[in-house]
Symmetry: C2
Subunit: 443 residues, 2 copies
Amino acid sequence: MNRRKFNFGLLGTAGALMLRNPLAIPISRDSVPPVRVNGARLSDHLRALAEFGKNPQGGVSRLAYSEADRRGREYVFGLMQQAKLEVSIDAAGNIIGRRAGSGDNRLKPLLFGSHVDSVPEGGNYDGDVGSLGAIEVAQTLAENHLTTRHPLEVVIFQNEEGGLIGSRAMNGELTEKELDLVSRSGKTIREGIRVLGGDPAKLSSVKRDKGSIAAYLELHIEQGGILEAEKLDIGVVEGIVGINWWDVTIEGFANHAGTTPMNNRQDALLAGAKFIEAVNRIVTSIPGRQVGTVGRISALPGAPNVIPGKVVLSLELRDLDAAKIQMLYQKIRTETDQIAKLSKTTFDFKEINVNIPAPTDPRIRSLIDQSAKELGLSTKQMPSGAGHDAQDMARLAPVGMIFIPSVGGISHSPKEFSKRQDIENGANVLLQALLKVDRADLN
Amino acid sequence: MNRRKFNFGLLGTAGALMLRNPLAIPISRDSVPPVRVNGARLSDHLRALAEFGKNPQGGVSRLAYSEADRRGREYVFGLMQQAKLEVSIDAAGNIIGRRAGSGDNRLKPLLFGSHVDSVPEGGNYDGDVGSLGAIEVAQTLAENHLTTRHPLEVVIFQNEEGGLIGSRAMNGELTEKELDLVSRSGKTIREGIRVLGGDPAKLSSVKRDKGSIAAYLELHIEQGGILEAEKLDIGVVEGIVGINWWDVTIEGFANHAGTTPMNNRQDALLAGAKFIEAVNRIVTSIPGRQVGTVGRISALPGAPNVIPGKVVLSLELRDLDAAKIQMLYQKIRTETDQIAKLSKTTFDFKEINVNIPAPTDPRIRSLIDQSAKELGLSTKQMPSGAGHDAQDMARLAPVGMIFIPSVGGISHSPKEFSKRQDIENGANVLLQALLKVDRADLN
């Protein structure tokens, strides 16, 4: 598979020579040293991390704030120390590994990282690849005695899967009220922060100001099947999609399924079925990568011999363009009015959550693309359909995200898998892009 | 509302005279005495029974085997004694009130009755009207010193709402295994039978042989809205519909709602929605009174941000004609194959329960219709979409059922309501039909 091999030819003879003595590499603003991560070591680290919260049937349950999470983070903390980072835990419970820069003291830090908590019955790649990839990049820089201009910070965000808690603490969006919400571990977020070594009373110390960070980079698995299906190596993320979630309540009239003639029913589930079909039809009626999902449904009273009188279901729309989400929503509302009329039911939409789209920085996108191509890797510009800590960091700084293929597009599952070579490729792109961003003037 | 008044004119002068001295009524096989129930007393009894298990917000919860059921039955037992019936509780817990006949000793008993248990949060008419109506008929016969040829048995079946338990004990279908099922009261049926004064060890004594009963008559509320909508007084039930219930499991593939493109989904809920729509379309595509219902649905994993990978839903089809149910089911299966193919899902149908249709006896239907018309009441032949104890009795004897209007077609609800005049009409039709059946030779 030549497409996944590095193209050292691009580096020329000088590059090949330089590899023998990294200390001698001249760092200029136009070219970055042709250093490479240690793919075997990265694989070993991923395997070792997979032990924490390992499930007998495969995959991992490393819920934020669980014992598995605490112990997994201890392991990661150790790796960061081995990578010569100055490691600490901030008041929110994020692990931060610092590395001084060589440049002007006023240069802002360059952040990169991901998370190591998982969903219940999750896999070993979502978050892990980006976290251990970032640490591997730091280790590679240390081993090659390379110092960036900007100070570096490797960040392992806490509780990404439970609502991007660590990165939301960093951008100041995490509220006092949320601290008392119970996470999937059974602990409140406030208790969880203490378990991780943070201090919920000092959250304000975690907050970064807008413009105080040079850039944020994150490597992640795609979690979709596009790169694999199109036989591509690297996804250059255009942004994290906006997510709008409504709960929709449909009221009909519960009645006896035997004695109520078909033409005299107010069947909330039949109306719900027509709604689900309409959502799918409307979302797929225009070109683009928007998605629309009804993932949750309940019908009451819920007996085989009673016509459902009430249905509650979720509607989720995602796209990079908030205006497109609104346009789709309006089309759905219009069609819903028709369904309600014909089925003698009523629909009520309650907005539960809105994540506005978070575009990545076009200059960073270009540097990621360039880095991948110099490594001989094929690329595709694509949105991230999933939420990531990068979306919170985008409120503070220019961000970039690098995707690697997910086999079968499966994620949040023990079946989640990315190939070793793809992981190594992703870490090398992260390393090269980081060095390029370090040398660019983004601010 | 003239249509609900009795037409005494039909009885002629002789009838009017006879009313003054019922003892003088000549009982012939061609005409029955023009006796009438006491509608005010029947209303009083219904009101009194409504106190047992009364809910503060209206209606009643008189679950079989509950304390409310036990005490309600005590009240009913007393009414039956007042009606000069020889009252006992059989081994299954059914209350039986006997009245001797005047005819040949070999004449089989004529049974009539209903049930007094309710669904949770039920109403005061389903079962109660037929039970207290039957007792009122017996009381009227006693007061008028009328003796039928056949011995009579008023039967108050136990636990109709939880699976026709009392009538299934009588036709021998109740299995030992079922006795250990937990009823909605929290007690097993075995324990419940003891609470009611029965003896689960002696159930075989309850079983009646096929052909050992002259006929069974039951008065009941329609539970649908047809009689009310068509402004009719009495429904002459053509039979109790067959009920086929399947659980349908749809398997797709659970995946991330953000990262899985629309054209790459195996959405079990979208397939389920198309199924629900297809069931409705197919059931309503041919003329007739058949009904099809999806009353229960669950979608897994059931999160707004995950495409459902598995859906389980119920499919229930009802009709008087078992062949029509099968025909509709086959049409649904054929369309399901298409849905499965297009949505890349699989459907599995599991038959949970089959109640075969139970037609009523055409001769009894005719006698009910004649009785109603002689009382100046309008009638309609109609199926019973709901199950009743009569369907079990139909395995043993010719049966007949009399429906009265349900306001708004609402049933199994505190809003269940039938007008006083309609209840009185129904009891008078029961009385007249009983006397006609008594004088007819059905066997």
